[in-house]
């Protein structure tokens, strides 16, 4: 763990993970500040209806209590504007395009590890630390981003946007720990958040995503559900309720075989469904790719491309499947083909490439809408 920084900003959400991250750093003698990011104004969004009083989210209170107990300064940074533009607006726009958004990735890439880092830099802090379960190691070839030791809690999937240059200035104190160990540490120190339940949902959506999107002005309209032949088989009340690969909630009865969402046709506002066989694809394309692993960066410098076999993780809880991946610098797009099975992908989601061990994050990007069909 790198604690050879002058001063480190620890992003504190009020949850047990970031609390323990701060605690561990402080115990190791690092000079740290706790910072909570205010990304969402509860006043303006149905929290309090009074203008000049603030709803202090309970989480800030928890973070503040933990900071006081650990004995570190604590501040709240207003990152609402950035969050709105980089996360929420993208979230809504992605749904509008018929894709599945990944707000946690956007938040990491654009808010936490960009904007927060910028502000931390200006305060003379040389690193940002979070409670993510991931590891950063260093050897002669450079810095490496690895999965957390606790495979079931590993969050490296959400961190594929980190630049190689950032890794020396990023600290993940929890990477070698399991969640139960983290809770134990919290309990041992008497942190109020030791037994706090984890937040499961998107941090800015309380209630249903549909309601949220409607509230933000997206009137997702009803349309048809069709087979790939174009034959209408049912109706839907908004494309946002569907993800490619989805099987449940289609409400089209009377089929012998299970049916899956193949495509979200935004042009005609249709959900296209089909059989498992139709769903399977041989490969897909990934754009907006970020490369982290030193070996990949070297390959790009040498040959202008990265071509290798690796494991692709296609959603958060996904074991990862072997793929052949070919990315060229000229168009910035990776063509990815499945090696073994023909699997489904959700356009808009992140595809993160790991080495064949499944340990190191090579890089990752966003799955494009056009699949490669056989």
């Amino acid at each position: 763990m790198q604690t050879d920084h002058d001063r480190i900003v620890v992003a504190m959400s009020g949850g047990v993970d970031s609390s323990v991250a701060a605690l561990l750093l402080q115990q190791q003698g690092a000079n740290i500040l706790g910072v909570s990011m205010q990304v969402w104004d509860y006043r303006k969004n149905g929290g309090c209806d009074s203008r000049a009083t603030c709803c202090s989210p309970d989480d800030f209170t928890d973070a503040r209590k933990v900071a006081a107990k650990i004995g570190i300064p604590y501040y709240v940074f207003d990152l609402e504007e950035y969050f709105k533009e980089e996360v929420i607006d993208r979230f809504v726009e992605t749904y509008r395009q018929g894709l599945t958004p990944n707000p946690c990735v956007d938040c990491n890439n654009r808010v936490k590890f960009r904007e927060l880092r910028k502000r931390s830099d200006s305060l003379g802090c040389s690193a940002v630390a979070t409670g993510h379960y991931a590891r950063i190691t260093c050897d002669d070839s450079g810095y490496h981003l690895l999965r957390g030791l606790d495979r079931s809690k590993d969050q490296s999937y959400f961190l594929y946007g980190l630049a190689q240059a950032e890794l020396p200035r990023t600290v993940f104190p929890l990477g070698e720990l399991t969640k139960p160990e983290v809770r134990e540490i919290a309990r041992g120190f008497g942190l109020a958040t030791a037994n706090k339940a984890e937040s499961q949902d998107i941090c800015f959506v309380s209630g249903s995503v549909s309601d949220f999107l409607v509230q933000l002005g997206g009137r997702m309209s009803a349309g048809d559900i069709v087979r790939s032949s174009g034959e209408k088989v049912g109706e839907h009340d908004g494309l946002h309720g569907f993800t490619v690969g989805q099987r449940r909630g289609l409400n089209v009865g009377g089929n012998s075989e299970p049916l899956y969402v193949l495509e979200l046709d935004t042009a005609k506002n249709r959900v296209v469904i089909g059989s498992r066989a139709e769903l399977e694809i041989e490969g897909f394309k990934v754009s907006e790719v970020n490369w982290i692993a030193p070996e990949c960066i070297e390959a790009i410098q040498r040959e202008g491309q990265v071509k290798l076999r690796c494991l692709a993780q296609l959603r958060h809880r996904h074991a990862g499947v072997p793929v052949d991946m070919h990315w060229t610098a000229s168009n910035g797009v990776a063509k990815v083909s499945f090696v073994e099975e023909h699997s489904t992908v959700s356009p808009g989601q992140a595809a993160v490439f790991y080495d064949l061990d499944g340990t190191e994050v090579l890089g990752g990007g966003r799955i494009e809408a056009q699949a490669l069909r056989a």
């Binding site: 500040l33 909570s36 205010q38 000049a52 009083t53 603030c54 709803c55 202090s56 989210p57 800030f60 503040r64 300064p73 604590y74 501040y75 709240v76 940074f77 207003d78 910028k118 502000r119 830099d121 200006s122 305060l123 003379g124």
Partner: protein
């Protein structure tokens, strides 16, 4: 680490005389309820009455003309004054009620007025003129048959601006003696020579933690002839004006701080003037494009309100905190996130300019070393944020920050 308080307008901190208070023994007055019949109660009663006398003396109001009511702070005092002017239940004769105040008041005045507005009353908030000053004419123009309250702060907490309350109140009183005149004197008391007795005010609010006493205690002075009415009802303390067992310790510190203030107001003002002048001069060398807006009008001796040039990025207040000097920007908010100052917006500054505002405000009693320490800390802060471009060329452009 050592800390120097250059944020006196947010909290003065305890003056030396008050610190002495905390050697308290178990049989001391603050340990008892002033309403008790026994010796303990009598001691507590004597304690708060002494504080009352000290406070009246410090503010130079005559007990025959004004009564002093202790409250839990100026927010309560302000809420009380507005509620008093609204009228008791028995007085619902008028079908409409109108209140006049300014757009730069503290939220503890604006919020109760907003509440009255929501209940159907009318509120007029006077804005400053283009040059930031307040015009007596505007207040007179706003008067209506159903106006029952005019509330104008004596000095603004954010900018230090001194408002022409004596002129405004004199003009209104001569035309409309029926209107209840209230002034929030929280920031002015102890930082400005004011003849409170000649203000023509019906109610005056003051606060403990702005004069070096404990927070959570204050007072409202009400014209003696006015009929009794209370916002907080219960055991009829404060002669039925304000129920609730008195905060004896707090009130005691309020009296002690008031007495110390009265004994030294002249020297305090001189000291504040000197430290402000020194720090302002230093600030101008650190940040050549700084706009010290508190220089543009009549302002409290201890307050610097400045707008930093565009292009200075970063969290000045946080950075200053890390260097050991305490200052403010905008208005404090309980969640820790600063809001754009309604005061600066009312004065015509943009939200963007308001986001670059700093308030640096002083006590009267720094050691010379402390002043130097604070100034050097600020210098380190600004050196970090000013890019070479700004220093040399005085650019105020958007892209002049190196990062």
């Amino acid at each position: 680490m050592k800390r120097v308080n250059f944020d006196a307008n947010a909290c003065y901190g305890l003056v030396e005389e008050v610190q002495g208070v905390f050697n308290i023994s178990a049989d001391a007055a603050p340990c008892f309820n002033p309403s008790s019949i026994h010796a303990g109660g009598q001691a507590a009663r004597a304690c708060i009455e002494e504080a009352r006398a000290d406070l009246m003396s410090a503010i130079n109001l005559n007990p025959g003309e004004y009564r002093c009511i202790f409250t839990a702070g100026a927010t309560e005092s302000n809420n009380f004054a507005i509620a008093y002017a609204t009228g008791s239940q028995a007085e619902q004769v008028l079908s409409s009620r109108h209140y006049i105040s300014t757009a730069v008041e503290h939220p503890s005045v604006l919020k109760p007025l907003e509440h009255r507005n929501q209940l159907g009353d009318q509120v007029t908030l006077i804005n400053p003129e283009r040059d930031g000053s307040f015009s007596v004419e505007r207040f007179l123009e706003a008067l209506r048959a159903d106006t029952r309250l005019v509330s104008v702060m004596l000095a603004n907490n954010e900018t230090g601006q001194i408002l022409p309350v004596p002129e405004i109140f004199a003009a209104i009183k001569s035309r409309r003696p029926d209107i209840f005149l209230h002034t929030d004197a929280v920031q002015a008391f102890g930082k400005l020579q004011v003849d409170f007795a000649k203000l023509n005010a019906d109610a005056i609010s003051v606060s403990g933690h702005k004069i070096g006493a404990l927070s959570g205690v204050g007072a409202v002075f009400v014209r003696e002839a006015l009929p009794t009415w209370s916002l907080i009802r219960g055991g009829a303390q404060e002669l039925s004006w304000r129920s609730g067992t008195e905060n004896v310790l707090g009130i005691h510190t309020l009296g002690v701080a008031a007495r110390a203030l009265a004994a030294s107001i002249d020297t305090r003002l001189i000291a504040m003037r000197e430290v402000r002048a020194k720090v302002a001069a230093e600030l101008k060398t650190m940040v050549p494009q700084i706009r010290i807006i508190s220089d543009q009008f009549n302002s409290l001796e201890n307050t610097i309100c400045a707008i930093l040039p565009a292009g200075i990025g970063g969290d000045i207040v946080v950075s200053a905190d890390l260097e050991g000097v305490l200052i403010s920007s905008g208005s404090a908010c309980s969640s820790g996130k600063p809001l754009a100052s309604h005061v600066l917006l009312a004065m015509g500054y943009s939200k963007e300019e308001a986001s670059r505002a700093l308030r640096i405000s002083f006590r009267h009693d720094y050691e010379p070393d402390d002043i130097t320490y604070g100034v050097e800390a600020l210098r380190r802060v600004f050196e970090k944020y000013l890019s070479a471009d700004i220093k040399i060329n005085g650019l105020s452009g958007e892209n002049s920050l190196a990062n």
